[in-house]
């Protein structure tokens, strides 16, 4: 082991020797410079590995050959080793990135850079507060100097602000040090920790004046304008050093010194950190400058870690893990993002679409953002998870709310940025210099590697759970293959995995088997249209497989953590799928925000649910002790964002309608069921029958009924065929929610029937209409018509699905309806039942509209050459049709086992099976008989129609009736345009976008608030100084006088 003091000796020795080199021998100097950085990195890495793998014990270096407190000592323990490794890694890689500037500025820059890194190392290791001051000054000065690298007016100003701000902060620190020395009679941190100075007022003030400057170094809101300017105006490498190296070191200093302040100090740190986290993210909302936005995000993340440090008394032994996990992700992602900023060389967010030209860079960018926003399986997710769990365990619900609010705000601006980079095309090429790419890829690689360690740490035994995740990773690796091969691999993977799940759950846990069937068989079928694609279809397969992997993991999740991970993976995959649509950018964004909001509600709910329980198994849902009602509500909200219940639905129409033709069925027919699955787990946990009278469940029943009504009504008024289908999903999911909320055997059975039904007919409809959209190139129904002649097979499929949807006998939809009304009557929910019944009638309106407008009527001139739907679309449609037919004829094959399963939760069996005949106290129904009877009736009717309508005349294309098109608005003469205008006038207000407006107002409120708050950053160096002093004084006053 090389003693850590050599970090100082080597860095300083080489920094001093660099002065020998003039302009002529820069080459050699550069070599020496990199050697120094490599050497100090080596030392810290060596200690790091020593601690991790060789059980090294921590060591203290005594300078001057004397023990502290008589001399200055440096400590090297595991935390120090980790932090210095991070700093040195960021330093070394930053220097690699910096090669151009190093050449330009020569030894001056090298010296500054090297001393900056050295200073940061020492402030981490030192155990002497005055020594801390000296090296803090070194790093601050060096950092301010680095601002000059861009040599613009702005960066000089930023450097000046940084310099005077840190100077005044250091001045405060110096006062704190001398006062602490006076009362504590030592400068050695360990002595001061033992002395417990907070007992006397002056001692507490002395400690306050030590801790406050350390907090100020972390740029807390609102005394941080100087830091933001620095992020904005300096070279990206300086930004990366500020964010990754300097903040990391400062955080560690705070961690080291925080115990000095005792419990009050901790509390203050936690509050100030939390405030910074939320406020910075709020102000980040309005940012349009990439550098400054990263600055806001960096400050927010540091605030979060600061808060974790302050919550030590609550978090106990978990503090280190939580803090480190969040810090690590922040460190890797922020350094990477700042470097990307350097590669792209633009600060306009909308220009980040340049990344599209280099898919690998785009991947890395999204990876960083996703990790930063706390998506699993990245470290910060595990940190946040553990944080929420521990806070819930100790009853700190408000803190959880605060954290999740901040996280959501951060996700808003980060995902908006992701949207731009994924969608906005740019012709500009990015410069591809190896020395700039290597650091970015290396950090991305470390981030990905860390995932393995985290998963194996949390689940050393059940890595099987993560096979789907590995499959996703494989799909990323296989991106270079043509689409057809990737399609085969995806389908093969899903088939293999569904076989595995069948083996595991069939007969054991039919509920899970049922959903596994929907998720995976549905997955396979909806992947078939993909065979049509030529080329590579970059980005599609990883996203699709990610979504299905999440769904599959949802099935096999055995505890809350696994469930949540699966949930988030699914969300991420579906987001990436949805955003592929041409005009999806804002819809995918809204989908992401609702999903994250829901996920955070769920996270809080999970936290509360497991509080007071010994483990985090899914069975804790059955035994909620801490705030059980709130927990149930939070979880229901979380699940309902996916089922798009009324109020949480506004993301759905756009997201489903604007997705690619073969993506719509995936996200509509299949994805929505994940929410249903979650709700079922929740209801089962709440104690199925016992929950029958639960106010939450009753409320959900109403919500379901209203969703059905509003969804169907809105669907009827759509001009866009896919939007119509999307709104109809809201209605259908409303039925499902309603059915499950009844909490009876029949209700659940009806619900499950609907689930299966919706999965199949919605898939057929979206495939069929998707094919129409592909062929005609429009979503608007008034631009279609008469396609029955051109696409008869598609028509048959859509007709079939519509019949099922509308619940018209003989198809399965009727079975659902029959069960449903039986259930309603038995439950006695007449009022709600009436609403749902009305909704069912409205469903006829849009069913008719879509059939008529698209397939019947006059064929448009421009569609004369339209071909039948692609065979890849027809195949899954017809497979599903066969499925529906089998189910319609022999419903007991499916319903009976499901019924048996439900009997486990609802023992009062109200449904009997007599062969293929279902019996309830209200009547009986035999699917096969119904089918036969209907067939006969249909045949008779058709014959009668054929006989009587001979006089009917075909209208020719150029019939005078159609000659009156208004050229400026041709759609107005189309029969299907504004088809239900009358109804719209009468009841349209029910479907008015009132809820959308409410959400829009909330959105505007936060944006305006953020915009208003950031006005304090006036740009004036003097006001920043005032902020710093005022912040200190005000916090002091609050602590001491409780103002």
């Amino acid at each position: 082991m090389v003693a850590p003091i050599y970090i100082v000796a080597i860095a300083l020795g080489i920094a001093f020797s660099l002065g020998f080199f003039g302009k002529k021998s820069t080459g050699f100097a550069t070599g020496l410079f990199y050697a120094a950085l490599a050497a100090i990195s080596f030392i810290s890495v060596q200690w790091f590995t020593g601690f991790i793998f060789n059980g090294q014990s921590s060591t203290e270096v005594f300078t001057a050959g004397l023990k502290p407190p008589f001399s200055i000592s440096l400590q090297m323990g595991l935390p120090e080793a980790i932090i210095t490794t991070m700093i040195n890694l960021a330093g070394f890689m930053g220097a690699v990135f910096f090669a151009d500037q190093l050449k330009k500025y020569g030894v001056h820059l090298m010296i500054t850079y090297l001393l900056l890194i050295m200073g940061l190392n020492v402030i981490v290791m030192t155990r002497d507060i005055f020594n801390l001051f000296v090296f803090l000054e070194i790093s601050s000065i060096a950092m301010a100097g680095m601002a000059l690298v861009t040599q613009e007016k702005k960066s000089v100003q930023a450097g000046f602000k940084y310099l005077i701000a840190t100077a005044i902060i250091s001045a405060l620190l110096l006062v704190g040090i001398i006062l602490t020395y006076n009362y504590g009679e030592s400068l050695y941190i360990n002595d001061l920790l033992a002395a417990n100075l907070t007992g006397i007022k002056a001692g507490a003030t002395a400690i306050f004046l030590i801790l406050m400057p350390v907090i100020l170094e972390l740029k807390p809101f609102p005394a941080n304008g100087w830091g933001l300017d620095m992020y904005q105006a300096t070279h990206p490498v300086v930004g990366s050093l500020l964010s990754a190296a300097s903040a990391t070191a400062s955080i560690f200093v705070l961690y080291k010194l925080a115990p000095l302040g005792g419990d009050t100090g901790m509390q203050v740190i936690a509050v100030l950190g939390g405030l910074t986290f939320v406020a910075s993210n709020l102000m980040g909302l309005k940012q349009s400058h990439a550098g400054r936005m990263l600055g806001y995000s960096s400050i927010a993340q540091t605030g979060l870690v600061m808060m974790v440090i302050g919550l030590q008394p609550v978090l106990g032994e978990h503090t280190l893990f939580i803090g480190f996990s969040i810090l690590l992700t922040h460190f890797l992602a922020k350094a990477g993002l700042f470097w990307l900023r350097g590669i792209l060389n633009t600060d306009k967010l909308k220009e980040w679409g340049k990344l599209r030209n280099t898919p690998l860079l785009l991947f890395v960018f999204v990876l960083f953002i996703v990790a930063l926003t706390g998506f699993p399986p990245f470290p910060s997710f595990f940190g946040k998870w553990e944080l929420v769990m521990q806070l819930a365990n100790s009853g700190h619900g408000w803190w959880i709310a605060f954290i999740l609010l901040g996280s959501l705000l951060e996700a808003v601006y980060l995902f908006r940025w992701v949207g731009y980079s994924l969608k906005i095309k740019s012709k500009e090429q990015t410069e591809q210099k190896a020395h700039k790419l290597i650091p970015v890829y290396l950090f991305a690689g470390i981030l990905l590697t860390s995932v393995y360690f985290y998963l194996s740490h949390f689940y050393p035994d059940s890595m099987m759970q993560y096979v789907p995740l590995a499959f996703v990773a494989l799909m990323f690796v296989l991106e270079f293959l043509p689409a057809i091969i990737k399609n085969i691999i995806s389908i093969g993977g899903m088939a293999a995995y569904s076989w595995l799940l069948t083996d595991q759950y069939l007969g054991e846990d039919n509920l899970r088997f049922f959903f596994a069937l929907i998720f995976l068989v549905g997955g396979i079928l909806t992947m078939i249209p993909g065979f049509r694609q030529k080329g590579k279809r970059v980005g599609f397969y990883p996203a699709a497989v990610m979504m299905y992997a999440g769904l599959a993991m949802l099935i096999s999740a055995t505890d809350l953590l696994q469930f949540f991970i699966a949930w988030e993976i699914m969300t991420l995959g579906s987001y990436l799928l949805i955003i592929r649509g041409k005009r999806s950018i804002k819809h995918a964004f809204s989908y992401m925000l609702f999903s994250l909001g829901g996920a955070f509600a769920m996270l809080a709910g999970f936290g509360f649910a497991q509080a007071g329980n010994p483990g985090i198994g899914l069975d804790v849902l059955a035994n909620m002790t801490y705030l059980p009602h709130l927990t149930a509500i939070l979880l229901a909200i979380g699940f309902m964002t996916k089922t798009a219940a009324l109020g949480l639905h506004i993301w759905l129409p756009g997201a489903h309608a604007e997705a690619e033709s073969d993506v719509s069925p995936m996200v509509s027919a299949i994805l929505l069921k994940a929410g249903v699955f979650g709700l079922m787990l929740l209801f089962i946990g709440m104690g199925a029958e016992a929950a029958g009278g639960h106010p939450l469940v009753i409320a959900l029943g109403w919500l379901g009924a209203l969703s059905a009504l509003v969804g169907n009504l809105a669907a009827s008024f759509q001009e866009d065929a896919k939007k119509l289908l999307a709104y109809s999903s809201i209605g259908q999911l409303g039925y499902i929610l309603f059915a499950f909320s009844m909490m009876t055997h029949l209700g659940w059975l009806a619900g499950l029937t609907y689930v299966a039904g919706h999965a199949s007919y919605k898939a057929i409809l979206f495939l069929g209409i998707g094919a129409v959209v592909i062929r005609t190139g429009t979503h608007n129904m008034y631009q279609m018509g008469g396609l029955i002649k051109k696409m008869p097979l598609t028509f048959i499929g859509v007709l079939f699905a519509i019949i099922t949807l509308a619940g018209i006998p003989p198809l399965a939809g009727f079975a659902g309806k029959w069960l449903f009304y039986n259930a309603v009557i038995m439950k006695g929910w007449y009022l709600q039942g009436a609403i749902v019944f009305t909704a069912g009638i409205i469903a006829f309106l849009y069913s008719f509209r879509i059939l008529y407008a698209v397939f019947l009527g006059q064929l448009k001139d421009q569609h004369r050459k339209v071909k039948e739907a692609p065979i890849t679309y027809l195949i899954p449609m017809f497979i599903l049709m066969v499925g529906i037919m089998i189910f319609s004829a022999q419903p007991h094959l499916v319903l009976k086992p499901l019924g048996n399963m439900i009997s486990g939760f609802f023992p009062s069996n109200m449904l009997d099976w007599n062969g293929g005949t279902a019996l309830t106290s209200l009547g009986y129904w035999n699917g096969f008989q119904v089918a036969v009877i209907i067939m006969i009736m249909f045949a008779i009717l058709t014959g009668w129609l054929l006989l009587t309508s001979r006089k009917a005349k075909k209208v020719g294309q150029f019939n005078i009736v159609y000659a009156a098109e208004r050229p400026e608005r041709p759609e107005t003469t189309h029969m299907a345009y504004n088809m239900f205008a009358g109804y719209n006038k009468a009841v349209g207000f029910l479907a008015a976008p009132g809820i959308t407006n409410i959400w829009r107002k909330i959105d505007a409120f936060f944006h305006d608030l953020g915009d208003w708050m950031r006005r304090i950053y006036s740009g004036n160096a003097q006001s920043y100084l005032i902020h710093i002093v005022a912040y200190t004084v005000i916090v002091f006053m609050i602590i001491n006088f409780g103002i």
Binding site: I164, A167, A171, L174, I177, G225, N1020
Partner: protein, 121 residues
């Protein structure tokens, strides 16, 4: 009873406050740097005062102060050593600040701190 230490402590704190006042109110960049040096000097006075012990001599062992009884005769050398370091650091920072000021003044042809607000929000 007024002692030397209280007077110097008071002077130090008042000087610091005056320096801070200068930082708050003066618009001229050079004045702001001057304000900073005043704060610095104030802190140095404060530090030395805290190391002082009544009726003792400088921490130098010579003919007047015997090595064996030094602990009873001299003032605390540690704050003095710290102040030495702090003074030099202060000089470094002052020089750097002035360099920035010069550069900014040349870029914008102004010394008024309110004129450097191109970065905000």
């Amino acid at each position: 009873m007024i002692t030397l230490e209280y007077i110097t402590l008071g002077t130090g704190i008042l000087l610091m406050l005056m320096g801070i006042w200068g930082l708050f109110t003066q618009k001229n960049l050079i004045k702001i740097v001057i304000g900073f040096t005043l704060v610095d000097t104030g802190i140095h006075i404060l530090m030395v005062s805290i190391g002082h012990i009544k009726n003792r001599t400088a921490p130098i062992i010579d003919d007047a102060v015997n090595a064996s009884e030094a602990a009873d005769k001299v003032v605390d050398p540690i704050p003095q050593a710290m102040v030495l370091t702090a003074i030099v650091i202060g000089l470094g920072i002052t020089a750097l600040m002035l360099t920035f000021v010069v550069k900014m003044a040349k870029d914008n042809n102004s010394l008024n701190v309110s004129n450097f607000k191109s970065l905000k929000w």
